[in-house]
């Protein structure tokens, strides 16, 4: 996280120096007011707002990589902060009437700041659309970062349950079928055992990418647990789901995955089952799916896994 801030250190230094210059100008030109003349309400209002803006700036810089949109948002917030800061300083320092530049310092940056912020937020929206495109097949309707599995990263079992609830309700209202695919790798624990967790984790990430490439626009991929994934297929009947399931199974089989250390090819295969949702709640549906998977695994020729 500190590295994120370090990336923006020139911007921060610039802001600090500008604010400092404003302060020095005030001190040079004017005199400090006696405490009795301080207007505490103004100080709390303007000073507090300036402090909050500084917090926003910190959070913004901490969470965003450098770039066009970040610069716009930063400059906007910086102008607003500067203007409020000058307002606050004004409460403590009395300037002679001959000085007129203080009005400019207080009110000038404010509109510029608002314009820059508006531009920034507009471009942020554009950027978010681009990111949403990357998140396609990983999330739908709502975002809940606490329900995202850190490894793959896909929605976890809780996200899946919440999504199933939504999808099933939608489907019932529109009288459309919903199908589910469950994919479980065969002999996956062998990878962890023979190559270590790091290799197993990497394989899961690769498999996630592979599956995402094979999905349609509205399908949603989630990681149930371990090496077991579930895909929600809205507006899809069982036959279509079966075809998709077979395609996924083939995709996994023909993936020529190489281990990181030796570069040797790992023979991969997956058990994939598809089901159409009946009139049932998410928990029952998942349980039914799970039992279907258990049966499919029993009939495997390579039964380890």
């Amino acid at each position: 996280m500190t590295s994120m801030l370090a990336m923006h250190r020139f911007k921060l230094t610039g802001l600090l120096m500008t604010a400092n210059t404003g302060l020095l100008l005030h001190l040079l030109a004017g005199e400090i007011k006696p405490v009795a003349d301080w207007d505490w309400l103004d100080i709390a209002g303007e000073g507090g707002s300036a402090l909050l803006l500084l917090t926003w700036l910190g959070l913004l810089l901490k969470s965003r990589p450098a770039g066009y949109v970040t610069n716009l948002l930063f400059m906007g917030l910086a102008c607003l902060f500067f203007s409020l800061f000058m307002d606050t300083v004004d409460e403590f320092v009395a300037l002679p009437d001959a000085v007129t530049w203080d009005g400019w310092l207080e009110s000038g940056p404010m509109p510029i700041g608002f314009i820059l912020m508006t531009l920034g937020i507009f471009h942020w929206h554009q950027e978010q659309l681009a990111i949403n495109e990357q998140m396609r097949n990983r999330e739908r309707v709502f975002r809940e970062h606490r329900q995202f599995d850190k490894l793959t990263p896909l929605g976890d079992a809780n996200y899946l349950r919440a999504q199933l609830q939504l999808t099933l309700a939608d489907a019932a209202a529109q009288q459309q079928p919903v199908s589910l695919i469950m994919l479980d790798m065969n002999a996956f624990s062998r990878v962890n055992r023979e190559y270590g967790y790091a290799e197993g984790d990497r394989l899961l990430q690769v498999l996630t990418q592979l599956m995402l490439l094979n999905l349609r626009t509205h399908d949603l991929l989630c990681r149930l647990a371990g090496d077991r994934f579930v895909i929600i297929l809205p507006h899809t009947g069982e036959r279509q789901a079966q075809i998709l399931a077979e395609e996924l199974e083939q995709a996994v089989r023909s993936l020529a995955y190489k281990s990181r250390a030796q570069g040797e090819r790992l023979e991969l295969s997956a058990s994939v089952v598809a089901l159409m949702a009946r009139d049932e709640d998410p928990a029952t549906l998942l349980e039914r799916m799970n039992i279907t998977m258990a049966r499919a695994k029993q009939n495997l020729t390579v039964r380890y896994g």
């Binding site: 624990s189 055992r193 967790y197």
Partner: protein, 348 residues
Amino acid sequence: MVRTERSDRWLECTTRFIPAHYQPASLIDLALGRGVNAHRLLQGTGLFHEDILTGNRLISPQQFLRMIENLQQQLQADDTSFLLGQQWLPGHYGAASHALSHAADLQDALERLVRLQPLLWPLLRLRLRVDERYIWLDWGDSFGADDQSIFLVEASMAAVTGMSQWLSGQRLPWTFHLAHAQPRHIEQYWVHLGEELRFASPLNQMCLPRSCLHHLWASASVTAGQVAEQEGLKMLMALPATCSLLDGLHDHLVAQVRQPLRLEGVAETFGMSPATLKRKLQKHGTGFQQQLDHARARVAMELYQSRGYSSDEVADYLNFNDRANFRRSLRRWTGLLPSELGNWLARY
């Protein structure tokens, strides 16, 4: 197994006997691989990562349990216990692991696991029971695991499931009984254990049809396995003691379950004063009555499951004259009334 050295010394939660580069090392590897800070992981254990890398550090169960507690706090993932368990057996613990890897069949492997347990699975005591139809595994808490007990049970079950699957080359039809209520992350149980899960059970148990015991395992080398077991037993003898105090007490209570059992008498058998025994039990976060309840629960379950006793017969066996008292006691031991337990058993 008869333990002849019973009056001498016991493993306690502060005895340093677990090589830090065995089971704790794979925990550290997993944690570091998932981005947990090594310092945070070892916080409060008095250990440093460098110590563990030297390969000659012994740690106590208390330190190991603290490490697990830290891991649970630092790594908020539901699959940690299962992943660790899968890695823990047969493991890389010298001769003891070899003995396990070269077992001829499941029975051989489980018996070795029981005999070499302090080396292979130091925190919980594995108990094996074979009756006419089933084999039953259950776990005793050797050192007062307390808040980590669910984690350890998940890990143990994943370990035995994973090991039997790995060595036999197939998924075995295990049934899992878990004492805790069904958790939210049930999918982890599905994926890492299996579908036959029963939560809110009287004991933590795994059960398998007896017919699976004697399928020969292809990868086994029988002679190498026997030699490794002998070496493993020598390693076991080199430990400060071969049995934990709580396990020793449990065995004694089970053996004497039909006699009236009191703290004073038991302390005398163990060659210590009642106050000392009481203090030692407190150190492990437990008490005499709790241990006695646990021993009786286990005996009762064995009578119900393996001998098909009725509740009346179990009450008679355990010398309960008063039926109401037996109902209350059974409820305390297993969480179920006799009638509920009857239903639970019938649903098999």
